[in-house]
């Protein structure tokens, strides 16, 4: 276990770990890929905002409005530093799902002739391992505009097949949208390499950072990407807040997505002009307390150190991969080695449906996710309807993995397979 932080100490910061689970067991939370738990600091920050500074930001002329604005913009600054961005290029959304839809709709709103316009015959390139949130918005944009969808295949080890990358990303390609790390397979994709290919043909590169930003250092500058989306709730932050980052030139050039208060420069009954980013993309009274909570979450992660979080993830994953390889009747869906691989292990147990595996695990306090993980096309590719997925984070330790492995064994015994 990494010397940098002790997960058992970390766990004390998270009130939920005093929960008593079914079967009177403690909580072995292995579902951080779906949503992470929240440390006290984050809950306190949200509460303090409500108790001391709550007001509509950028609107009132009173002290509370000033303080609320400072807290909200302070959170934006924290998130910006966290991902190596300029503060004005960070947009608060409600979730990664909204962030990704926002890009697709903004592009769809482009004036004809704009460099951001998506037209019939244009191509949008995805991959077979995308989460529905980074698939359906593009699929529907393609349907609305007549653009064509194309995608990277996934090989049997759960890696992208890059052999046809330069045919796939051809001169008609306008967008390449890819996940940084698969939420099912754990595969970490070679983002910079693919972004460079996209840029060579003038395409924009959209990164789904839902599973990467919470788990290892992500710097938007050094990755060389155009857009980044992630959710606060998977990064020890509150629910109801996500981030959309884009290069300043894109935020300036693109049409807005949601229309309403605070995003305008001037308004008549029949026309409106837009404020500069980030306001342009934040219509309405924003999710202020949640943004402040995300600021505290980012502080918490930086206190531990993202490099340490990544090292911890890797130790756990290495340990788990070894333990899994010793199990019989259990197959990992995804890379079996540690290279470019995050802290997510999806598996199938011969003769037991994932739901039933998950149910037995629940009896021992082990919380995992079962099903298609919002990646239905990937399931079909592997010829399965679902997997059981264990995902690790900063509050997990080797013992959690031992309990997981024991519980899988118990499930096999229970179902006599």
């Amino acid at each position: 276990m990494s010397k940098k932080f002790d997960p058992v100490e970390v766990r004390k910061d998270f009130p939920i770990f005093s929960k008593v689970m079914r079967g009177n067991s403690g909580l072995v939370y292995l579902d951080s890929g779906a949503t992470s738990q929240k440390p006290r600091e984050v809950l306190d920050a949200e509460r303090e905002f409500y108790e001391k500074n709550n007001a509509a930001v950028h609107r009132g002329s009173h002290l509370l409005a000033e303080e609320a604005s400072a807290a909200y913009e302070g959170a934006r600054q924290k998130v910006a530093s966290f991902i190596g961005a300029n503060v004005d290029d960070v947009i608060f959304t409600k979730s990664a799902t909204e962030s990704l839809n926002a890009i697709a709709y903004s592009l769809g709103n482009s004036k004809s002739g704009s460099r951001y316009e998506i037209k019939s015959g244009d191509r949008i390139v995805l991959s077979e391992m995308e989460h529905h949130a980074n698939l359906i918005p593009w699929q529907q944009l393609a349907k609305r505009t007549g653009a064509e969808l194309a995608w990277f295949d996934v090989d049997s080890n759960g890696r992208l097949d890059l052999s046809n990358a330069s045919e796939l990303i051809n001169s008609r390609t306008k967008i390449v949208a890819l996940t940084h790390q698969s939420n099912v397979l754990g595969t970490i994709n070679p983002v910079s390499e693919i972004a460079a290919i996209a840029h060579k043909v003038g395409a924009l590169f959209v990164l789904d950072g839902c599973q990467s930003v919470p788990h290892f250092p992500v710097n938007v500058q050094s990755l060389g990407i155009d857009f980044l989306a992630f959710s606060g709730h998977k990064a020890v932050g509150p629910t109801g807040v996500g981030v959309l980052w884009a290069k300043a030139e894109h935020l300036a050039g693109m049409e807005p997505f949601l229309f309403g208060g605070s995003m305008i420069e001037s308004v008549t009954m029949t026309n409106a002009t837009w404020a500069p980013a980030p306001r342009k993309f934040e219509a309405g009274v924003p999710n202020m307390a949640q943004a402040v909570g995300l600021g505290a979450a980012v502080d918490y992660l930086q206190k531990l150190g993202m490099a340490n979080v990544a090292a911890h993830d890797e130790e756990l994953t290495g340990y788990a991969l070894e333990k899994f390889s010793a199990l019989s009747g259990v197959r990992i869906i995804g890379p079996k080695d540690l290279k470019d691989r995050g802290a997510v292990i999806s598996f199938v147990v011969d003769g037991i449906h994932p739901h039933d595996v998950g149910q037995v695990l629940d009896q021992y306090g082990v919380a995992v996710r079962t099903g298609h993980h919002c990646a239905w096309p990937l399931m079909k590719k592997f010829g399965i309807t679902g997997t059981t997925r264990a995902s690790f984070y900063l509050y997990n330790d080797f013992q959690d993995i031992d309990i997981l492995i024991d519980s899988i064994d118990r499930a096999q015994k229970y179902f006599k397979v």
Partner: protein, 148 residues
């Protein structure tokens, strides 16, 4: 152990040896249902004749609960007239929504009372209902077709 209230032996038996899981080619209606939250699927063929469930068969993938529940359902409704089959369906739906407060009428539900424990696991109720909802849909479609 709480698990045993969910996975009664009857359920595990039906899971290992599901009844009527073999699509019959002649039917008055065929339906395909999915549980979108887990990806489980079922295809169900039904033969309605003279107001009776004259034939029923199915295929699909799913967890032990959904497979066993469908298997038990087919045994229960086969040969029954549609009104009594729908009564059983009503009883079963009630049982599923009882949050563990009901044990089910064995006279009506027979083997299906073994599924009573499911009602304490809200995430699994949909599994238990997948086949039953397909059955309901198939009957209604048959009725439509037969102009009843």
């Amino acid at each position: 152990m709480e698990l045993d209230s969910l996975y009664q032996q009857v359920i595990l038996d039906h899971y290992k040896n599901p009844k009527h899981k073999n699509l019959n080619e002649s039917y008055t209606a065929q339906v395909h249902h999915v549980n979108p939250s887990c990806g489980d699927e079922i295809t169900l063929n039904i033969q309605v004749q003279a107001g009776k469930v004259a034939g029923i068969s199915w295929d699909g993938v799913g967890c032990s609960i959904s497979q066993a529940s469908t298997s038990i359902m087919t045994e229960l409704v086969l040969g029954k007239d549609i009104d009594s089959a729908f009564e059983i369906l009503g009883e079963f739906t009630d049982l599923m929504q009882s949050k563990g407060t009901k044990s089910g009428d064995e006279e009506v539900l027979e083997d299906a009372v073994a599924l009573a424990g499911v009602s304490k696991f809200p995430a699994r109720i949909k599994c238990a209902l997948l086949g039953w909802m397909a059955f309901k849909d198939a009957v209604l479609q048959s009725k439509d077709k037969l102009g009843e």
